[in-house]
């Protein structure tokens, strides 16, 4: 078990900076997920920790030891990748034990560790199977067992569930959480899927454009996003954004006006501001009491309804002249969550309120969060 520390990690290619001055301390036993869109630098960061890529600048410590220039095999880490790289000509036992046999562990110890790992990932009784006789989920469990037997200081996992179907992915997510609990070991996990990041991690490191945006527990990233990028990336469906400016009395956009005291929140009149509100923090006017502190009501038109079973997504337009974008999330559009039995139809004129307690403000120029509540 070990802490992992990244200090000033930068990875540069000619005119592209893939990772920019990354500073991060991961505690012993912590489950930290690097999350961000494709190409954001999360895998490159992981590769520098693994030793598969040398950083242009900066140092990496694992367990207090500078490993920046050490080869992967001397870093005390185990890796699990998206591509489940099992040897096709070896059975499960040989695949799991391969790393131990390379290191010349005695047979008794190899057997003990394989048995223990197989037990953790529930592969008992499958030791003789060949990879081609197994399902994708079983193969990934073999890959994880292979990482476990090495008893590493830290696990590095890069999109390990990406090749599995949706149902299996959810199942393996739970298994990985259980694994973390049982082994009590440091896990660094890379994914583009914010649902995996939210559900499994002690902390999420949100990365965009090679730059660390926020490192915080999942709910903190959700409730108090450090900037507009994090606010839009964490949460599904994503937060709604309204572009406008600060006035003497609050916030004004083309379609909305929200009262608050600018001074209390350090906003100056005339400042360009983006207001953010999550779909679950917007209510029909009739349900305004569900909001802790409702705004005044706004007119809207129901564009598209998406019944999801336990809830219903309603894509709204602030006015009939708004041209709906393909994603339904453009300017003048708003996505809200309603109860599945709400009496509402596409084309209806409705009135809505937002919960001021959960309206976020971002400085439009920098994207930085100004406040997470207008109360």
């Amino acid at each position: 078990m070990a802490s992992v520390k990244l200090e000033g990690i930068t990875k540069r290619y000619e005119d592209v900076t893939a990772v920019d001055d990354m500073n991060l301390e991961i505690e012993d036993g912590e489950f930290v997920t690097f999350v961000g869109p494709s190409g954001c630098g999360k895998s490159t960061t992981m590769e520098t920790i693994a030793g598969l890529t040398l950083p242009t600048e900066g140092t990496i410590e694992i367990g207090g030891r500078d490993v920046t220039d050490l080869p992967p095999k001397n870093r005390g880490i185990s890796m699990v990748f998206q591509n489940i790289a099992l040897f096709p000509h070896m059975d499960v036992y040989d695949n799991i034990s391969f790393g131990l046999r390379l290191r010349k562990y005695d047979q008794e110890e190899v057997d003990r560790r394989v048995e223990e790992a197989a037990d953790i990932v529930q592969l008992e009784g499958m030791m003789d199977r060949m990879p081609k006789e197994m399902s994708g989920g079983q193969r990934q469990r073999v890959a994880i067992a292979r990482a476990i037997v090495r008893n590493p200081d830290a696990f590095l996992m890069d999109e390990p569930l990406a090749n599995l179907d949706a149902e299996l992915r959810v199942h393996m997510r739970t298994q990985l959480q259980r694994l973390h609990r049982e082994l009590d070991t440091t896990i660094i996990y890379v994914t583009h899927d914010q649902a995996q990041a939210m559900t499994m991690s002690d902390r999420i490191a949100v990365i965009n454009g090679g730059v660390l945006q926020q490192v915080a527990p999942p709910l903190e990233c959700y409730n108090e996003p450090a900037n507009r990028f994090v606010a839009g990336f964490i949460g599904s469906p994503a937060m709604n954004f309204l572009e406008g400016e600060a006035t003497e009395g609050g916030f004004d956009s083309q379609y909305t006006q929200i009262d608050f005291d600018p001074e209390t929140h350090g906003v100056t009149s005339g400042q360009d501001i983006t207001a953010g509100v999550r779909p679950e923090d917007v209510f029909l006017e009739a349900d305004a009491r569900k909001a802790t502190s409702p705004t005044k009501a706004f007119d809207a038109v129901v564009d598209v309804l998406e019944p999801m079973g336990k809830e219903m997504n309603a894509y709204l337009l602030f006015d009939r002249d708004v041209e709906a974008s393909a994603e339904g999330r453009g300017e003048g559009q708003l996505l809200i969550n309603l109860a599945p039995d709400t009496d509402i139809a596409e084309g209806d004129d409705i009135r809505i309120v937002m919960d001021r307690e959960n309206v976020h403000l971002f400085d439009r120029a920098s994207g930085d969060a100004i406040t997470h509540s207008l109360e």
Binding site: E14, N83, A85, L86, G99, R101, L102
Partner: protein, 356 residues
């Protein structure tokens, strides 16, 4: 162990290239202790010729070896390389690293963890003119090398049709994976083995699958068009992370004269190297105080070299020293394999493929 010729070395795969390596090893007085092949005739021929035991099972061979050369058909590289690494041996694995990029990744992962090392058989790097070019590059004579024209083009030179070389299942491809692998490796070697970020390529099957395939020479026996299911030529454009590029032409068969030229283009000088003849010319354009502007083409004469022998020497020296060689590493071979895979994918999709 103090001397390279004390290293107990074995060979897995006793076909054409395995026998070639065994001959070179005995020529230099190396300690060839045995071979292994699943084919009884190959074992008998090897034993007859080299006077050492040929095993049916690789684990028995591994027990008497410090190091092995693996010269099996591509598809079996992984099985034998991984078991040799597991046995704690150093490995010289013939090119390509593997028949697929996935298999190549697994071999590289095993090598990273192993006590021994895995060197890959890109023998062309050991040709004297190549090392001369490298020497001038290191001295700065070329400035920045920004582009390499890499040609490995045979007018007609499909290896025995119907042999494993022309079977996609066993070889993993045709001309591209067989000889293109050398051209890609050499080009990337001249560029300092950078990170490749984009590949655009096209592969073609135009001759080997024809009943009327016309040729004047063939490596092996011709069993006709039926056993041929791979490409016989490929063209590609390769871009690295720094914007440097490689233009690649590879063919077992095409309607143009044979071409073995590598053109190395730097900001201060260039070079033309003919892999077939070992001819090397350095191209410069100079002036003295803005007068006497002129072109200068310097012909370089080098010692005769045997690239396979030089490669074996580097391998055995590294084994004797107990240190992995810094040349022909498994990670370099893996990046070559990724480029090959990307050319196949690019050709299939009809568009460039990103690798970053």
């Amino acid at each position: 162990m103090t001397h390279a010729n004390d290293v107990a070395v074995g060979i897995v795969g006793l076909g054409g290239i395995g026998t070639h390596h065994a001959t070179k090893l005995t020529d230099r007085g190396a300690n060839l202790v045995g071979g292994m092949d699943i084919d009884a005739d190959a074992r008998a021929a090897f034993h007859e010729r080299f006077g050492v035991h040929a095993y049916e099972n690789e684990t028995e061979l591994y027990e008497v070896c410090d190091a092995v050369l693996i010269t099996t058909p591509n598809r079996f590289h992984e099985e034998y390389a991984v078991s040799a690494l597991e046995a704690g041996l150093d490995v010289l694995l013939e090119k390509p690293l593997a028949h697929t990029v996935e298999s190549a990744e697994r071999i590289a992962a095993a090598a990273r963890d192993a006590e021994g090392f895995c060197m890959v058989g890109f023998n062309n790097r050991f040709a004297e003119p190549v090392q001369v070019i490298k020497g001038y590059q290191d001295e700065g004579r070329f400035g920045e090398t920004t582009h390499v024209e890499a040609n490995y083009v045979r007018r007609r030179g499909v290896p025995g049709r119907g042999s494993w070389f022309t079977s996609g299942d066993v070889a993993g491809g045709g001309a591209l994976i067989d000889i293109g692998v050398h051209a890609i490796d050499l080009a990337l070697y001249f560029l300092g083995h950078p990170e490749v970020v984009e590949v655009s390529g096209e592969t073609r099957t135009e001759f080997g699958d024809r009943d009327d395939y016309a040729f004047v020479h063939m490596w092996g026996d011709d069993n006709g068009a039926d056993g041929f299911d791979v490409e016989d030529s490929a063209s590609a454009f390769i871009r690295d992370a720094d914007g440097n590029t490689v233009s690649l032409e590879v063919a077992w068969a095409t309607n143009r004269p044979t071409n073995d030229e590598f053109v190395i283009r730097g900001t201060e000088a260039g070079a033309t190297f003919d892999r077939g003849s070992d001819d090397l010319t350095i191209h410069e354009a100079r002036a003295f105080d803005d007068e006497q502007h002129h072109f200068s083409d310097t012909e370089v004469e080098t010692r005769e070299s045997d690239s396979h022998a030089a490669e074996q020497a580097a391998f055995l020296d590294a084994v004797a020293a107990g240190e992995a060689p810094s040349i022909n590493t498994v990670d370099e071979a893996l990046s070559v394999q990724r480029v090959i895979d990307a050319i196949y994918r690019s050709s299939e999709r009809g568009e460039a493929v990103r690798l970053d």
